[in-house]
Symmetry: C2
Subunit: 233 residues, 2 copies
């Protein structure tokens, strides 16, 4: 009998924000897998580090950073092949995913390759969106407000249209797109409602009004725009 593929969300970074289910599956795992950058770093693995047991087999899926899709797709093909081998031996494989596996996560690339042949279970995790709202002390959405989650890399015109039409906004993956996002928010007179959070829930996190944010941002950074006139009162 084949093993089960688990895609396990680990939350935004603080290990205490993983779920009890993630804790159980990871600490008891026989085989784990995770994406790594070319130097071997894995943010997901670092979140789970303290609970990974010593006998576990680790499959590192080395994903090259590239704007072209081919090299990354080849890496997922290889990773899926390695994972499938263990699943066919009847071993469960636990894939470590930062945040939530199905929310801008790389797990879906493994899932799409393995879901037809194998039983897959996705364990949701805390996303950076609600973690950032908690840190910024800004309720995201009340009552019947619409929340729009926008990746920072989309082009300036599209970004402006999306933000202008939105009620509450979370802009993900800010990184090098910070100047563009600032320009758009300034033009829409929304900077006063914007909060900047980088490396949410990690020891070196930063939480500031956007107007006081640094000039450069890391990939793991977010801007929340909650226009509301204290709509929750």
């Amino acid at each position: 009998m084949n093993g089960v593929l688990y895609g396990v969300g680990l939350g935004p970074g603080d290990p205490e924000l993983m779920t009890l289910k993630a804790y159980r599956l990871i600490s008891g795992a026989e085989v784990i897998a995770y994406p790594t950058l070319e130097r071997g770093d894995s943010f997901a693995r670092s979140i789970a580090e303290d609970i990974i047991n010593e006998e576990v087999e680790e499959i590192a899926v080395e994903v090259p950073m590239s704007v072209e899709r081919g090299p990354a797709q080849a890496a997922y093909d290889l990773g899926a092949t390695q994972i499938a081998k263990r699943l066919r031996e009847g071993k469960d494989v636990v894939v470590l995913c930062e945040g939530d596996p199905f929310f801008y996560g790389s797990f879906m690339y493994l899932f799409s390759r393995l879901n037809e042949e194998f039983k897959c279970e996705v364990v949701p995790g805390v996303t950076s969106v609600t973690a950032c709202a908690a840190l910024a002390a800004r309720p995201l959405t009340a009552r019947n407000e619409v929340l729009t989650i926008i990746p920072g890399p989309i082009d300036e015109a599209a970004l402006e249209v999306r933000i202008a039409a939105a009620e509450a906004v979370a802009i993900m993956k800010v990184g090098r797109h910070l100047p563009k996002i600032r320009t758009v928010l300034d033009r829409l007179n929304l900077t006063q409602y914007a909060h900047y959070v980088e490396r949410a829930t990690l020891p070196n996190q930063l939480v500031l009004p956007l107007s006081a944010a640094p000039k450069t941002a890391p990939y793991f950074s977010m801007i929340l725009v909650t226009k509301g006139n204290d709509p929750w009162l």
Copy 2:
């Protein structure tokens, strides 16, 4: 010295989807608080039930179901007064919140009343949105897709505009708005991409293509629309 107010997310319903931090704070709490319906039911309390210690003091904030805001606001005023009393005695108060406290949660009504006087910490939780995506086996968003989260109660015209402009969509609080939502999705030719989930992660959950969903839906139900041509491949 005053106690600390904790707003603690419990996730979508399965107690194993609470975070390690929620577990620690709730199991060690001296005072907990939670919203209840008039009959005394509290979904949040039911999720945490097995880890609430026997000596804990419980503050039930009885929120009347009403379309008018006055009666609910009065209930939150009273709850905040009771909680403030304990905080002033130097006791921490842990507020139990289904899902995430700042994501369509009632915690923000207590937070807005207590945040200025007392230290508050919000512990994010797994939202029903990613829990439903996990159950429906539908990745929510890949790469630079925009995700729009829409409350089902908004009026039909607004709903149609929002969905038509969106890439990936999660429609929350479906309940009695199911027929209206079906009509809009049919008109936009999106029913084929829509999945229906009710009572996600609870023993009586239901996960179906929208075309096969029941005629009536409970309040805790969601429709996910992921138009994607397997964009993650």
